[in-house]
């Protein structure tokens, strides 16, 4: 690291999607933070952030699950780092709204104030990372919540731009939602499908070797739609991508050979 490592304790909120489908993204987040000198812990009592219920019209269920997260991370002042703009937005901005006027509010506020989106946190701790990977052209997809709630998109891009081997290209319609929206993709599949197809076109038009994002939901949505369309896109969570390059395990394979495999569930 070109910067003194800020030793300190950090708790990872891994997200339920990383747990079930993208554990590599979660492990990479942990290893990167450790590499920066942090003592990382992953409280086993954690679960989903509650957003699916919250957005579906079930605030009571969302509150119950939210409170379980607040408890799982209690007993420490350590930052809660979240490798997802969407979940970070939920924990940081929506929890206080969800508990407005309730006795738990102060406990929840104290928790929410500790929440940091992963890229934002990392960019502050280690603005430049060592890069041992081969040259690669990457396209960045920003989740809506990273863009509009946590505001962590510039930090993510700055991290990538600081890597000598990475050429970062941006999507023509970056501002536009990929259509995942959690339960939206199953509640209104017709609209969601139209949105994600356009997003895939946009990604393909960028002619990049790899699609990067800090949100597993978007990643799953875009890569699965691309695969379904018969035009696979190689996608990765940014933490995994960064860790490969920092640790020297980045693939030197030609991207074409990996293009057939949607990067989930490995």
């Amino acid at each position: 690291m070109n910067r003194p490592s800020p030793a300190g304790k950090v708790l990872l909120f891994g997200t339920c999607l990383a747990d079930a489908v993208f554990p590599d993204a979660g492990m990479a987040s942990i290893r990167l933070l450790e590499n920066c000198g942090f003592q990382v812990a992953y409280p086993l009592e954690q679960g989903c952030c509650g957003q699916p219920a919250y957005n579906s019209g079930f605030p009571d269920e969302a509150r119950a699950v939210a409170l379980a997260q607040v408890k799982a991370f209690a007993g420490s002042d350590a930052p809660v780092v979240v490798p997802s703009g969407s979940c970070a937005g939920m924990l940081r901005h929506h929890y206080p709204a969800l508990f407005e006027g309730r006795p738990e509010l102060f406990e929840v506020l104290a928790f929410s104030a500790r929440v940091r989106e992963f890229c934002e946190f990392l960019a502050e701790a280690a603005p430049t990372l060592p890069d041992s990977g081969p040259p690669v052209r990457a396209v960045w997809h920003s989740s809506c919540h990273a863009l509009r709630e946590t505001g962590s998109t510039p930090a993510a891009k700055a991290l990538l731009r600081a890597l000598p081997g990475v050429e970062l290209v941006e999507l023509a319609r970056e501002w536009e939602c990929c259509g995942f929206g959690g339960t939206f993709s199953v509640k209104r599949p017709e609209i969601s499908a139209a949105m994600v197809r356009d997003k895939v076109e946009d990604v393909l038009a960028a002619r990049a070797d790899v699609l990067l994002t800090a949100d597993c939901g978007c990643l799953l949505n875009i890569t699965s739609a691309a695969q379904r369309m018969g035009r696979p896109v190689r996608g990765m969570h940014v933490a995994e991508f960064l860790w490969e390059r920092v640790s020297g395990t980045a693939s030197t394979q030609q991207p074409a050979t990996r293009a057939g495999e949607a990067n989930h569930g490995r």
Binding site: P23, P43, P59, H145, R188
Partner: protein
């Protein structure tokens, strides 16, 4: 547009299958978005302006009843006759009786979304009065017998070619032309005659100033001015949230309105109607009526949270930036107000049983909130409407509370919450699911819908929880 006959999924399918919608909307909305961005180029200034807009409208709302009384008193003093309508039916009757009192069989109309909300044209036609839309967009869709597809640009769904065809087919002695100037001239020729001969004119209201009792109309074509000044009678329609406190509050609000709608610094015309023609004045209507419509708004006003939606100044920016609206167009929403703001206010006006579904037509991406000039928390309102749809019937201010509630769904979410609070159970269930299905999640339930356009998610061989334990990460 009968509320009970609205089939949202069918309307969605139709809209998504129509390549013209996708084409017309994408290009038109792209243009509007670009213009807005160009006008509000300085983020700090925009932030200040939006905060001002929010504060001004919020302050108005906090004193709404009082300001409406003040508006009525000052309008009356100015000679404007004020009518109150609780329902659209009542408002329609008021308009009709004014027209009848003057023997008007034709009324020239400037743009008014409230008149669309009332279904006024249909009502008047049924009662022997011909409404003539004079805003170019409204004129076009009236010829096509269609409702508006956008709040500020009603004919946004049509392209030049479609308009050319419509004009040559519906207006006598009109040759086919795609020339925009010529098309404008044709509409002008038809409308001038109407302005000259109509006994009554009708308009909407963008802002009604309580302090002075004046009605402010923002427009670009001059047809609003013609409709409100040429005929002897002018009827103005407004929703009760259109009141503002003072004249000096208008500049920031108008800047936000025109800037958010079309990227204009100021609209071509700003009409301030402060009463009928005075004894020594040469023009203007001899009678001015103001109809103030409630139609569910006082209900919204009483809801501490949802009353935020009454700040709306109907600029349409949330539509222009909505990825859902831009793919569906306005007609698919089956209601007068489409897009994010429509999905918030329509269920409140027409009830959750009829229109609650609209609140689910959003990915909650927040693009609408990001641009809303008066900072309405649209995503938050949509969530609230969703929870009203699913809540137990009984309390709650939104009509039709609990309309979408179903025992299986409720039980499903309870089970989900039960499992998510027990991570060890979740881990076991995931492992079981992976064993049973070979890691491919089965295409049942919600995943069936997901898999229409995507391959199914594949569960990881080992969950993150497992890896954390096995690979020596602290987990205390």
């Amino acid at each position: 547009m009968a509320a009970d006959s609205f089939d949202f999924p069918a309307a969605l399918a139709k809209a998504l299958a129509d390549p013209q919608i996708a084409g017309n909307f994408k290009s038109a909305l792209g243009g509007l978005r670009g213009k807005r961005l160009a006008l509000f180029a300085d983020p700090a200034e925009l932030a200040r302006l939006r905060a001002t807009g929010k504060a001004l409208k919020g302050r108005t709302l906090s004193r709404l009843p009082e300001l409406l009384v003040q508006l009525e008193a000052n309008c009356t003093r100015n000679g404007i006759r004020v009518h109150w309508a609780e329902t659209t039916e009542e408002a329609n009757r008021i308009v009709l009786s004014i027209l009848r009192a003057h023997g008007a069989d034709t009324v020239v109309k400037g743009k008014s979304m409230v008149s669309e909300e009332m279904g006024l044209n249909h009502f008047l036609e049924e009662h022997g009065v011909t409404p003539v839309e004079t805003d170019l967009g409204e004129f076009i869709i009236q010829l096509a017998h269609q409702p508006p597809s956008h709040i500020t640009a009603p004919a946004l769904h049509m392209n030049r070619k479609q308009v050319a065809e419509l004009f040559s087919k519906c207006i006598p002695d009109t040759p086919y032309t795609e020339d925009v100037l010529e098309l404008n001239a044709i509409a002008r020729r038809v409308l001038r005659e109407k302005f000259r001969t109509a006994k009554a004119g009708l308009s909407g209201v963008n802002f009604a100033v309580a302090e002075t009792g004046s009605l402010v109309l923002v427009e670009n074509e001059g047809n609003g001015r013609m409709s409100t000044h040429c005929p002897d009678v002018h009827i103005a329609l407004m929703g009760l949230e259109k009141v503002v406190e003072k004249l000096e509050h208008l500049p920031p609000l108008m800047r936000l309105l025109t800037g958010s709608a079309t990227g204009q610094l100021l609209s071509t015309y700003v009409n301030v109607v402060s009463g009928p023609r005075g004894p020594h004045e040469l023009d203007g209507p001899r009678e001015v009526h103001l109809v103030i419509l409630d139609n569910g708004r006082s209900n919204m006003f009483q809801d501490a949270e949802l009353s935020g939606s009454l700040r709306c100044i109907r600029c349409g920016a949330c539509l222009n930036n909505c990825p859902v609206y831009s793919r569906l167009g306005g007609h698919a929403y089956g209601s007068v107000y489409p897009g994010p703001i429509g999905s918030v206010i329509t269920p409140q006006m027409e009830g959750l049983d009829a229109k609650g579904d609209l609140s689910f037509a959003s990915s909650l991406c927040g693009a609408c909130e990001e641009v809303c000039p008066v900072m309405i928390p649209l995503a938050r309102h949509l969530r609230r409407i969703r929870s009203e749809c699913e809540a137990a019937p009984g309390q709650g201010l939104v009509r039709g509370r609990g309309a979408k509630r179903c025992a299986v769904k409720t039980l499903g979410w309870r089970l989900w919450a039960f499992v998510e609070r027990r991570p060890w159970l979740r881990e076991r269930l995931l492992a079981l699911a992976a064993r049973l299905t070979g890691r491919w999640t089965p295409a049942v339930g919600p995943l069936a819908a997901w898999s229409q356009a995507r391959t199914l998610p594949k569960l990881a061989r080992k969950s993150l929880r497992q890896r954390v334990r096995e690979e020596g990460v602290r987990h205390g």
